[in-house]
């Protein structure tokens, strides 16, 4: 009798453990995505669209870049970000500093903290929507992305 009771208890425990594991949300992988702009001309304003082609990206944080002339964090769609998973995000920022105070060359303009789910590696694509000089003149610039896992 006690043996049967013990077996029944073990079965209930196993089922409960299995149910708990199934209900637990997937932890996902946290990475940082650094966005760099490369330009010989000092960039006073930029707008970038970042896309994750597999649609598994969740933005959990956005930081400013290295250029202290850009005092505030970039503008982005806060509502869409708070909603959770989104396959893309648009970032933009500007500075009223003079051209001499702005950085040139390869400059990190933003850092995104991203959570991705699933085993597949995220596939990011960045597009420069617009960039301009301190006098408002549009310029062509290059974009680079660097991803670092688990920071």
């Amino acid at each position: 009798m006690s043996w049967r009771l013990l077996q029944m208890s073990l079965r209930v425990l196993c089922v409960a453990a299995a149910l708990q594991l199934a209900a637990q949300p997937e932890a996902g992988v946290f990475t940082t995505v650094d966005v760099f702009v490369v330009s010989d001309t000092p960039v006073a304003a930029w707008q970038v669209e970042l896309t994750e082609r597999r649609g598994t990206m969740q933005i959990v944080g956005i930081e400013s870049g290295d250029d202290s002339s850009f005092r505030d964090p970039p503008f982005y769609d806060r509502v869409a970000t708070m909603r959770g998973a989104t396959d893309r995000i648009v970032l933009a920022s500007f500075s009223l500093s003079e051209a001499e105070q702005l950085q040139r060359g390869r400059v990190r303009i933003a850092r995104l903290h991203v959570r991705t789910v699933g085993a597949a590696q995220p596939d990011y694509e960045a597009r420069l929507v617009a960039a301009g000089t301190s006098d408002g003149r549009p310029i062509d610039a290059q974009l680079n992305l660097e991803t670092q896992p688990g920071r």
């Binding site: 304003a45 930029w46 707008q47 769609d77 869409a80 500007f94 617009a130 408002g136």
Partner: protein, 138 residues
Amino acid sequence: MNPNTEQLETLPPGIASRLRRLDHAQPIVDPRTDRAVLDAARSYFAARPATSRPRRARWALPLSAAAAVLLAAVLMRPLIFDAPSRDDVDGSGRVDVLDVLALARMRAAGGEASGVTASRIEELAFRIVALDSSRSVP
């Protein structure tokens, strides 16, 4: 001086006057020939159309009107269909961060007198990054 006239002047006046009368040209077309030519000409021209003005195609006027309307539509299209956006501050034809920068520069240069408020700059900045353009900006 005509040599013939010189010769007549050297002749006696009676002979000269008679010679002058003989020298007058006589009509060689008699009235019957003249009438026949006239009749032939009338019959020839009677067979021709009354007017020889160039013909105008019937569709020339409607076609001209349609072309005028089309030209007017093309010229007015930017004003009617693609009215310049208030947010296209730099007039580039699209609204992006460079318009936000232009607004901020206007405010920095003119202060409150520029009519550009900080909230307008922020509102435009959030609008250009909005993923759903129909949604209001936070």
